[in-house]
């Protein structure tokens, strides 16, 4: 009952201050939106200039448009497309010559001019384009054989080849090195939502340390200890109160991003386990900071610096996959890295609760250590 009274007071005080509603609930949504728009669209922009208007050239463009990962934009001239590549509006471009159809009909090779920027997306684009061109090349090769046997036009033979393709489409399944199936590609906001959740929950919990310091500074914490309540009960009330606040924040991010941005949070149990354990780590860290410093002016900036640094090192600002191997190891000093790994298992690999068991166990370990230290420190600062 005493614990519940402390929890209730923590919640009342937190949400009575209206600015908290903005910082805890509204700002994360705004950032998810901004980062999702800025970095979330993983499709590479690709320019096409089609000089002629032949059927085969049109089929190639259609094939390119259907390539996953390519956002194809048509240009009216070779010059305008080259400028678009130079200026980075598109990652690469393809020039389809006016003689494309005629040369293929005549059984002659066709040279396609491919222009690319030296950026990280170029290899991905090249693979996608080669795949589309090669698929069309295979169809045409097959159609030539059909034309020779059935004495029909190349277009007619191509239609027959396509009909065979449709009747028995090839099934390709991509597997990871460990045999796990790669799932569907992620949506625009999926990655930013999970990383922003981790960043904001941790940051809010750390900056929440100022509430504990205020409670100490006001003499209320010490007075609480003069009542027949143990230091453990007092800390438990404070921790549960802060935990509920971070969980409300997490829940609002999950629900809002799911409804508005169609973010898929994967396995509900797995996601709940990651959020519960990570929030507890964040609260433990916040409460510990609240017992280590004696003024809000000290704890606020420290919480902010630790929160942002851990988020950066732990893969909440840039994906861990982009880190060098050594840096990835260092990253796992932070709880963020474990939580990001867990979200990767859930959201990218489509894993369930068991896939995040290790990550959740590590996060629980962090929480136990931090909360034990915080209890010891709180008792010490209140009775010294």
């Amino acid at each position: 009952m005493k614990v519940l009274a402390i929890v209730r007071t923590e919640l009342t005080r937190t949400f009575r201050w209206r600015a908290n509603i903005f910082f805890l609930l509204i700002m994360p949504m705004g950032l998810i939106l901004l980062l999702g728009i800025a970095y979330g669209n993983s499709n590479a922009r690709f320019g096409v200039f089609e000089k002629g208007d032949g059927a085969l050239a049109g089929q190639l463009v259609k094939a390119l448009r259907s390539e996953p990962g390519l956002d194809v934009r048509g240009y009216g001239s070779q010059d305008s497309m080259e400028k678009a590549v130079e200026r980075g509006y598109v990652s690469a471009g393809l020039v389809i010559p006016s003689s494309f159809d005629a040369r293929i009909q005549a059984g002659k090779p066709v040279a396609l001019r491919y222009l690319a920027r030296p950026d990280s997306l170029a290899p991905q684009v090249r693979i996608a384009v080669e795949s589309a061109v090669s698929a069309q090349g295979s169809d045409i090769a097959a159609a030539r054989i059909v034309r020779g046997v059935q004495k029909t036009s190349l277009q007619g033979a191509l239609r027959r080849v396509k009909a065979v393709d449709l009747a028995a489409p090839a099934s390709v399944e991509l597997l990871s090195a460990r045999g796990g199936k790669y799932p569907k590609s992620q949506g625009q906001f999926d990655r930013s939502a999970s990383t922003m959740l981790l960043l904001f929950v941790f940051l809010s919990a750390l900056t929440g340390s100022v509430w504990l310091i205020e409670t100490r500074r006001l003499g209320v914490a010490r007075r609480m200890l003069s009542t027949p309540s143990s230091a453990r009960e007092i800390l438990l009330g404070i921790v549960i109160g802060r935990w509920v606040i971070t969980l409300l924040q997490s829940l609002s991010i999950v629900v809002f991003s799911g409804l508005v941005f169609s973010v898929d949070w994967g396995n509900p149990l797995g996601t709940a386990a990651v959020i519960l354990s990570f929030s507890l780590v964040a609260v433990g860290a916040g409460v510990l900071i609240g017992t280590l410093f004696s003024s809000e002016q000290q704890a606020g900036p420290v919480g902010m610096i630790v929160g942002l640094t851990f988020a950066a090192i732990g893969g909440s600002m840039a994906p861990l996959d982009t880190f060098p191997a050594t840096m990835r190891k260092i990253a796992h000093v932070t709880p963020h890295a474990w939580a990001n790994d867990a979200f990767n298992h859930l959201l990218v690999n489509g894993g369930g609760l068991s896939s995040v068991a290790l990550d959740v166990a590590v996060l629980c370990g962090y929480a136990v250590v931090l909360l034990t230290l915080a209890t010891w420190r709180l008792r010490r600062v209140l009775t010294a």
Binding site: K2, A5, T9, V220, R223, S226, P228
Partner: protein, 313 residues
Amino acid sequence: MRESVLHCEGLRKRFGDIQAVNGVSFEIASGESYGLLGPNGAGKTTAISIVAGLLEADAGEAFVAGERLTTRSVAAKAAIGFVPQDLAIYPDLSAHENLCFFARLYGLSAKQAHARTEEVLEVVGLSERANDQAKTYSGGMKRRLNIGIGLLHEPRLLILDEPTVGVDPQSRNAILESVEQLGEKGMAVLYTTHYMEEAERLCDRVGIIDHGELKAEGTREELVALLGEHDKVHLTGTGSLEAAANACVRIGAVDAASTGDGSIELLVKGASAALPEILTTASEAGVSVHSVEVEEPNLEAVFLHLTGRALRD
């Protein structure tokens, strides 16, 4: 014989090189008001913190309502209502919310907490502003709320640590009246102050504390009797008051001397006979005396007698 509510024996507490409390022992019975009188830094708040279960003593022990008191003893703390010197309330909660919150921490059920909150709001005169945030209250109202929290669970021992510091005279009087009524209701009250008048008005017995030691204790009459034939002589004047006080203390009849704001206070045995010599000495030391007052001894004079310095020093 009244039942003992608080019993302290040989309490000691050291902070680094400073012996804050040094062998303090005293006892308070139910319905009794006991004052710890001493200047700032005398060790009152440290002694109070030990007795409130907030600070572990290095040595000695304390019992509240028969329960041994430590920082972890929940049963003993249930019998204590603690009112700290500094305000310890949430300014962004109302008086009602603050009281309900602490009532639950004192172990009252939700129903009891609400009922006691209403009663305490009446006692401290905050019923009309019960739902306003405490930060909108005057200093005196905040003080009354601070005291009200200590009354919520009707404790057997109420500890008040300098509750009138920084309070306007009207609120101060209201606080003192409330404390007088509590003693009449059978609550044991431990009251610390450096205001002599408060100790004389409120406390059945007074303990005089200085440099962490309890110098003497007893009723006002018992303490004043320690002075014997001593009188308090109050001189006002201009000039070198410090030098005059040092010169006067060398007179045989003068037991102790201290200087204040434009005045010298002397503890004198047989004041009427010694007065001419005192005035001559003060004059020779360069003080132009404007007025002389011989007063009946009070607790301040007792403090001067026991410690050689004034309460306000």
